[in-house]
């Protein structure tokens, strides 16, 4: 009897628990596992635990998500124009996209590197690479704005970048395509690859105060493809590791021709040694041409400077900078664990994962355990450097991140899974499927001395049936895993912009308490055409150029009536946002403008160039809803024929007693 009652009670209790729909948010993720939704749920008004800086791939931009919610906060325009924010359209931002090829409005952003101090994320900057027209960018994390873009000479596709040393002494930039050096005649037969094509790796120094970048030196290497890279850390600080493929030096049908050898290389670079050679004057000055673009927070203006020289160290002549570690089958990822001892190579076509030992590398170099040379660079004996192999881990290994608890997580593109394995005993301890075809992985701090092993994000190349269909082009995605337990647990799917490649994440408090800017102080605005207050607003004609010094405040422009513009004029609207409160941008749009809008932050001055194409009346208005009277924030520009006698006049708020006679 008692047992029966107890059973009844239990049954009722169970049913009750199951029948409380309001207790836990239910969505598709519930099917994955019971508490998945709760683990990724961040209630309205609550903040996420991590900022996730995600590459936008062929969008050319950097996106900022929150973890664990997967909410998108901002798309930071970096290498591609962004009409929404006026990036690349306003006169001040155009120089940021200047290159030795002229203005380049698009690129392909693959990887992110957050700046570090002693192997830990310091919250100052996020670096990014341009994969097409080789460049490096630095995003300032106080403003979430691109502060600097540096072009890279002697380079043909900056893929092996922007990985940094553990104090961000250097950000590296290894070329994917080897090409004839910039100071040689590039007009040579393509099949003269072996003779004429060279690889270059730039070591770009970073000023620890200002963040300003400078190419300290370049390493000239054999003509191969550099893929990815990681710095040594802790005990291996002073070294850098680059994965190389196409050591076959093929120049056509690489799919087949660059997959011939059983082993390619991970190139180990002793950059401290390179510094010594540089100091000793062993570098060769080379004439090149590259653009260096810097943003000034006080003039709110970018400046592009064309530079003409770079110092190159030839690693086939300077013998003890580089060593080749044989690595099976076209290595892609090349990742160093938090202790700095283990280097994981991920051969795209290999059925095993080799783990190399830094200690053994040092011993092998000391004892010259070489297996010949590759174009003048010593090749180390595989077994002498190898710590061990993870056997049969999966198909198509790409990238590895670390949790700091002795485990590594490797993505497998072909078998579409993440495999967790023990670094010490090289055994697989867990595997989970991804949907589908995972590329990069991200654990917050997963490339540092101190990872934060709570979440793992997988960035997938294909989504197929995961979301509502949107025609032939489908979104790409990220998948979030809880890795706090022994087993990885998928807790969220979220779509991403562009194609997500590498991403990094940092604790929210580190970034949001880094002294983030809320407004630009109007007193510190040094824009040459600022109007500090309506009394300074004016319209000035300089030949056929007309400069409008305009102010914006809730909710009017000054001036908002302009007459006397003539056909053939170039009009520059220099709009100063007089607001000094957080989150009150104003926008500016004018009919027929062939570029974009302006989006002006509080205290900022930004310029839109406008060339009227016809005589008539042109409305202009504020594009960013600023107040209840936002819809009143508008004005007119009157355009008269060339040579018209209509005087140049401007005003705001002057309402004539009666309508003037029509002229």
């Amino acid at each position: 009897m008692k047992a029966k009652i107890l059973f009844k009670l239990l049954a009722v209790a169970l049913v009750t628990v199951l029948m409380i729909p309001s207790c836990r948010p239910k969505n598709a993720a519930t099917a994955v596992s019971g508490d998945a939704a709760a683990k990724s749920y961040v209630a309205p008004g609550q903040y996420d635990e991590y900022y996730n800086f995600v590459s936008g791939g062929f969008s050319g931009q950097m996106s900022v998500y929150g973890l664990p919610s997967g909410r998108l906060f901002r798309v930071i325009p970096v290498f591609s124009v962004d009409p929404e924010k006026g990036w690349g359209y306003s006169e001040e931002t155009k120089p940021m996209l200047n290159t030795s090829h002229g203005f380049v409005p698009w690129d392909d952003l693959h990887h992110i590197e957050l700046s570090q101090t002693t192997g830990e994320i310091n919250g100052k900057w996020a670096f990014a690479n341009a994969n097409n027209t080789p460049r490096l960018a630095r995003v300032d994390l106080k403003t979430f704005k691109t502060a600097e873009i540096l072009e890279l000479p002697n380079s043909g596709g900056n893929h092996s970048s922007p990985f940094g040393t553990e104090n961000s002494e250097y950000i590296v930039a290894g070329t994917r395509f080897s090409v004839p050096p910039d100071d040689t005649n590039g007009d040579v037969p393509i099949d003269s690859y072996k003779k004429n094509f060279k690889g270059h790796i730039s070591f770009v120094s970073v000023n620890q105060e200002s963040g300003q970048m400078d190419i300290a030196f370049q390493l000239k290497t054999p003509g191969v493809n550099f893929d990815l890279a990681r710095c040594g850390r802790a005990k291996s600080h002073g070294w850098f590791f680059f994965s190389c493929y196409n050591t076959e030096q093929a120049n056509t049908l690489l799919e087949v021709n660059a997959s011939q050898k059983d082993k390619d290389f991970i190139m180990a670079v002793n950059w401290k040694k390179a510094e010594e050679y540089l100091k000793a004057g062993k570098g060769k000055k080379q004439k090149v041409k590259y653009a260096h673009n810097v943003w000034d927070e006080h003039t709110h203006t970018g400046t592009s400077t064309m530079k003409g020289e770079v110092t190159v160290l030839d690693v086939s002549e300077l013998k003890d900078i580089c060593y080749m570690i044989p690595c099976p089958k076209s290595p892609h990822g090349c990742d160093v664990d938090p202790t700095g001892e283990y280097i994981v190579g991920s051969g795209k076509l290999a059925a095993l994962l080799p783990v190399f030992s830094f200690d053994k590398l040092q011993a092998a170099i000391a004892s010259k355990a070489y297996d010949g040379e590759y174009e003048g660079i010593p090749v180390l004996k595989y077994e002498e450097v190898l710590y061990g192999e993870v056997k049969k881990p999966g198909l198509g290994p790409l990238h590895t991140e670390f949790d700091g608890k002795g485990f590594a997580y490797t993505s497998f593109f072909v078998s579409s899974e993440i495999v967790k394995w023990n670094i010490k005993d090289l055994t697989v301890v867990d595997r989970v499927p991804t949907f589908y075809s995972v590329g990069h992985l991200c654990i917050p701090g997963g490339n540092t001395r101190k990872p934060s092993p709570k979440y793992l994000v997988a960035y997938n190349k294909i989504t197929k049936d995961r979301y509502l269909p949107t025609g032939p082009e489908l979104t790409q995605s990220a998948q979030l895993f809880d890795i706090s337990g022994d087993k990885m647990q998928m807790i969220l799917d979220f779509p991403t912009i562009g194609e997500p490649h590498y991403a990094q994440a940092a604790p929210a408090d580190l970034i949001r308490n880094n002294g983030q800017l809320k407004i630009y102080k109007i007193d510190e605005n040094k824009h040459p055409r600022v109007a500090k207050g309506e009394s300074e607003s004016k319209v000035v004609r300089e030949g056929n150029k007309v400069h409008v010094y305009m102010t914006a405040v809730r909710s009017h422009f000054a001036p908002d009536n302009i007459e006397g513009i003539r056909m053939g004029d170039e009009v520059y609207f220099h709009v100063t946002n007089l607001e000094q409160d957080w989150d009150v941008p104003h926008g500016f749009g004018i009919k027929g403008a062939n570029n974009a809008e302006l989006l002006i932050m509080p205290g900022e001055t930004t310029t839109l160039k406008w060339v009227p194409d016809r005589v008539g009346m042109f409305p202009m208005y504020c594009t960013d809803f600023c107040s209840a009277l936002h819809q009143e924030m508008q004005g007119y520009v009157r355009v008269s024929p060339a040579g018209s006698k209509t005087p140049l006049t401007f005003h705001v708020g002057k309402q004539p007693a009666a309508d003037k006679e029509v002229q």
Partner: protein, 163 residues
């Protein structure tokens, strides 16, 4: 009957336990939002309409018997950058009300509080709420430094004829 009672108690407890888990703060506890001031319920009872809300009071805002012309001069410049796009010096309304007579209508520390801390005051002050119905634009926080606010106050006094 007794069984039903037990079951009811049990169900209640179970319900409590099951839902208790939901009361847990979400994972982002360590970095939860501060909550913007505008979302806080206006506590009308503690609001002093003579003083406003902010760091200024009768003790720390002391006016001279005559105008401090140096203050007023700097204040006029600051107002030109941050205020006069919306406020006229007459009693005519532009975006916000004209400044004529403001120093006679309001205590000095109320003015200082309002121009440095507008948002909470607009939420609580009945007269400001009435004004908002008229102007429809919330006076923005223009990030005035204390000194800047004091100078602007002196310029307002000058505008009101203090010599």
């Amino acid at each position: 009957m007794r069984n039903i009672k037990i079951i009811l108690v049990f169900v209640t407890i179970t319900f409590y336990i099951a839902c208790g888990g939901n009361n847990k703060k979400p994972a982002s506890e360590s970095s939860s939002a501060d909550g913007t001031p505008t979302e806080k319920p206006a506590d009308v009872n503690s609001y002093d309409p003579k003083r406003g809300e902010g760091k200024f009071n009768e003790q720390n805002v002391v006016l001279g018997a005559t105008l401090n012309t140096a203050y007023a001069e700097v204040g006029e410049k600051a107002a030109g950058v941050k205020c006069t796009s919306c406020h006229k010096m007459t009693n005519e309304r532009l975006v916000g009300p004209g400044w004529k007579g403001v120093t006679e209508r309001r205590t000095p520390h109320w003015i200082m509080n309002f121009i440095t801390n507008p948002d909470p005051m607009i939420d609580k002050d009945p007269e400001l709420q009435a004004q908002l119905e008229l102007c429809l634009v919330r006076m923005p926080n223009q990030s005035l430094a204390d000194e800047e606010a004091r100078n602007i106050l002196e310029f307002m006094r000058k505008n009101d004829g203090v010599k």
